[in-house]
Symmetry: C2
């Protein structure tokens, strides 16, 4: 059954396109919008379009940002020689919440997933290689490593010391991490992977086998 108002019906249709929003939720949201003051609705509508108009990818780390480069890449309080590679910009948020990590990021924009038709060329891997070696672009074009030209911009920056791979611990994440580790090996940079093991507050008794065997594999000397 449809609403007696076509506008409301149209809004319900629009809401159901969003993830986790079914028809019932969409109707509840639409009913709420009906009761909202007009200014607030206009603000919401503007925020929606603004996201599409203003947000771009940071030219350095490929994270989403309003200003290029993004605040993290532009900050001189961050260690620019330490790059943490993540899948999505939500992962940056999660890592920033720890308040522990002081390096910079690189957002791949996904993982290698042949089943979904996502290959390395669909991810921001080229941009990562260029960060490590500004001549990478030429490598790809000519097919061999170009000699560094004298006085190129990259020399002014401190070289990257470590790349931390922080993909999700699943098949696609593992595949992507393996692919990147192979690709990064010739650059000589230190490549690490975040630890996998028992989560804090977890219980040995209820941990699955894969997590447990990773936890044993990754044991540390005290």
């Amino acid at each position: 059954m449809h609403f007696t108002s076509e506008s409301v019906e149209a809004l319900v249709e629009q809401f159901t396109k969003l993830p986790t929003v079914g028809r019932k939720t969409a109707q509840r949201l639409a009913a709420f919008v009906l009761k909202m003051p007009r200014e607030e609705v206009v603000e919401l509508a503007k925020a929606l379009v603004a996201v599409k108009d203003r947000v771009k990818h940071c030219s350095v780390c490929c994270n989403i940002t309003d200003n290029d480069p993004c605040p993290i890449c532009a900050s001189d309080r961050r260690d620019q020689t330490l790059i943490c590679v993540v899948e999505e910009h939500n992962d940056v948020l999660a890592l920033e919440r720890t308040n522990e990590y002081r390096g910079v990021y690189h957002v791949l924009g996904g993982v290698i997933s042949p089943l979904d038709g996502v290959g390395p060329e669909d991810l921001h891997i080229r941009e990562l290689m260029v960060r490590l070696n500004p001549d990478f672009q030429k490598v790809a074009a000519n097919g061999h490593v170009a000699e560094p030209e004298e006085g190129y911009e990259g020399e002014e920056k401190a070289p990257v010391k470590e790349v931390i791979l922080a993909m999700n611990p699943n098949v696609e994440g593992d595949t992507t991490a393996y692919y990147l580790s192979q690709l990064l090996r010739p650059t000589g940079v230190r490549v690490t992977r975040i630890a996998r093991g028992l989560p804090i507050g977890g219980d040995l008794e209820y941990a699955d086998e894969a997590t447990l065997s990773r936890a044993i594999e990754g044991r540390m000397v005290l």
Copy 2:
């Protein structure tokens, strides 16, 4: 922790104002909007504002509608002498889904709830009285029932035969129904209330006492 993009952060803020949307859900929705094509986002934004600009209350039944009177009130296939009084426009949807009811509606826009500061004057009760007796406006203004003038518009319409009270079966709904039944008694119109009892598929064993006693009270001769 905040997104590196202020626009995305602003959108997340806006989303969290919606009911059932917490910060986590808002972030997921914002991430989805980022991946949506711009046209679709603009459509969603337009649908939002259109709801505020186009939707009005039907001058007859107070339901939401784009055109006044609403399709149900304007339809000559509906029995205009049978009015079902409901709390909200969502209730109209629920009743329409049954495909059983062929009368028209009257949407109160809430229930009498002293705790929330909602009194009879905050609901569309006056509009209901005017539907039953077009002279009601004068009654209220002058303090006594006006004599029907000759040839007034209301005489052309068939008079209302029955008012069905379909408030929710809770304290506020019961209060509102009682208030309306007292108010409607002098008009001489037949006032009924939808049945309360065991829901279809329910189980006597697990029914609560209030429902069970209502079910016994409302028993029907077979």
